[in-house]
């Protein structure tokens, strides 16, 4: 497939307004502004564009749910808090093609009737934020953002808002809380943001990659977009491949591409002299897939059929030197650290899972601990306000499910049975 989103990213100055204008820049917006907002929503619905942030929810539908007849202002919040371990696609888009994101934000604002779009960018992407700010200033100066955009009478502002290091801020209602100047903790739903979001006004929260897909849909039409992928999984998709592969990176492909092709074709295969042990297909929060399960299209639906999720399409590849108890412990440290603390199952359970995994990894585990992992994990998943709980339980549940003998060997032999030279010599300590 010819790249759409990343077509020009390797070219010098691809991030500048001049370059962007020479390559169809802001033409999608021009097309949108010539249509009724409801027609834009219908077009996006017809394209079947699904949210690229993780859940894969249809974007057109999300916009349609945004309240129309209300005196309140409406908002677009762009979720640029890319924090899912293994995901780094929005990073590329924002740094190399910031105007595409601005154009997408403006199309979204036109469609739902918003006058402001907030781009919530994670604090760690400071260098990306500098690019965004400089380019946004240029777009303002040349009349592509701000008052009377391109002489059409449409006013819309874009504000870049820097986060400060919170994974949970990637959850849409937590992002809204954080934008309001509070702790990034999720809200009880309903009401959904479409009804009561930022400042209690109707809000659509969209991922960076989702918004970046809009200009090309406006220019090329819904049919073109759906034709790029399998049914209900149309459009170009960015895949991030990292871990034990020869060429880790962001690759744009159709969702009909197989996982095998992404790992062995695009990313060059497993590093020399090693074999594939397992992959996590959609960012650290989703269940593991095994080497024999890779001949499926990397689409939302096909991966879901195998009991995992495409999520944010962050594919983490692990070879045979990876200890699965260690990997689960690494991720559980992440989840216990990043848990916002609002719901007890996640706050306490994540910590418990981490302690038990550390105990097993250090060779101090007992056989009953393995079942305890499953029991605690099952009591977190589905029992929290947001999807974080499920995400936190997953690494423990999925590693025990597929690699139970490895856990048992740790307990039996009283040591880590899969040591690797790239790991620290120090013994992990739970704290």
């Amino acid at each position: 497939m010819e790249p759409v989103l990343t077509r020009y990213i390797r070219e010098p100055n691809s991030y500048t307004l001049d370059f962007f204008l020479k390559h169809d820049g802001y033409n999608g917006l021009k097309a949108a502004l010539g249509m009724e907002p409801s027609a834009v929503i219908d077009l996006v619905k017809a394209s079947g564009l699904r949210g690229r942030g993780g859940a894969g929810f249809p974007t057109g539908l999300k916009w349609q749910f945004v309240l129309k007849d209300t005196p309140l202002p409406k908002y677009i919040c762009c979720n640029a808090d890319e924090s899912e371990p293994g995901t780094f696609k929005d990073h590329v888009l924002m740094e190399r093609n910031p105007h595409l994101l601005f154009e997408g934000c403006l199309i979204g604002c036109w469609a739902i009737g918003a006058k402001v779009a907030y781009i919530y960018i994670r604090g760690e992407f400071f260098h990306v934020q500098k690019v965004l700010e400089a380019e946004l200033a240029k777009a303002y100066a040349q009349g592509y953002v701000g008052k009377n955009i391109m002489g059409t009478g449409f006013d819309c502002d874009i504000v870049i808002h820097r986060g400060a290091g919170a994974y949970e801020a990637g959850e849409e209602t937590a992002l809204i809380e954080s934008l309001e100047g509070k702790r990034a903790q999720p809200r009880i739903k309903p009401p959904f943001p479409a009804v009561s979001g930022l400042y209690n006004c109707p809000t659509a929260v969209n991922n960076v990659e989702t918004l970046c897909n809009l200009p090309s849909i406006l220019l090329n039409g819904a049919e073109w977009f759906t034709s790029l992928g399998p049914e209900k999984n149309g459009g170009p998709k960015l895949f991030c491949v990292s871990g034990h592969v020869k060429k880790p990176g962001t690759y744009e492909a159709s969702m009909s591409t197989t996982l095998h092709e992404l790992i062995y074709g695009h990313a060059g295969g497993i590093r020399d002299g090693h074999q594939l042990k397992a992959i996590i297909p959609g960012g650290s929060s989703v269940p593991i897939l095994l080497p024999h399960e890779l001949e499926i299209p990397a689409s939302f639906d096909a991966v879901a059929q195998l009991g995992s999720m495409l999520g944010s399409a962050g594919i983490i590849v692990m070879d045979e030197t990876t200890c699965m108890v260690w990997a689960a412990r690494n991720l559980l440290y992440f989840y216990k650290h990043e848990s916002c603390g609002k719901c007890t199952p996640c706050r306490e359970g994540g910590d418990w899972l981490h302690r038990i995994l550390t105990k097993i990894e250090n060779g101090e585990g007992e056989m009953r601990d393995i079942d305890l992992l499953t029991s605690i994990g099952s009591n977190i998943a589905g029992k929290t306000l947001c999807a974080f709980g499920d995400a936190a339980a997953t690494p423990a549940l999925t590693t025990v499910k597929h690699f139970r003998p490895e856990f048992e060997a740790h307990v039996r032999e009283g040591r880590c049975t899969v040591p690797a030279d790239w790991r620290a010599a120090r013994t992990p300590v739970a704290h």
């Binding site: 760690e124 502002d157 400060a164 954080s178 509070k182 880790p248 650290s284 790991r423 120090r426």
Partner: protein, 202 residues
Amino acid sequence: MSFHPLMLYDPERFQRSERRLLEEGEPFTFAPERRAALDELLTKYPPDRKRSAILAALYLVQEQQGYLTANAVRHVGGILEMTPAEVEDVATYYVMFFKEKVGKHVVQVCRTLSCALAGAERVTEALSHTLGIAPGETDPSGMFTLLEFECLGACDRAPVVMVNNEDWHERVRPEDCGRLVEDIRARGPAASSGCHLRIERP
């Protein structure tokens, strides 16, 4: 902080409060240019929603004095019409705000899975050895603080090390750490290898 019949019990490690009170610190007011920057930012949010600018305000505090103090929290609260407790509530939630004095260079190593698969644990060990401090500590000279950080979002260039919340070093190998530390000591932010996506080099 909780109890379960099968869970490990150890008040030194688990059942302890992690709450720390902020140091009082020196009297604090924003330097005029930072106050102006904050006032400019406030125009981007609805007038009755000043607290939206709190993260930006706390970054400005850190820019001015390196870390957060109780005096700075009160000052920020005064500007954003929040109580000091509300400001502290937010400040203590986000990991990029330092709640105690840190070194001039805060070295933040990504420790999450993709970086760990690429050897981040050994990078932390090497930095720890070079600096003579454990993660979470500041060296006696006050130059360096070593921290472990969660996924920085550049897993294709693992392991990633960030310095002072801003400057990136990518594909750091354990054997490079000695030189990296010297380089940061000598050149500060200029030592940063920068993000690999930036292909236009001066």
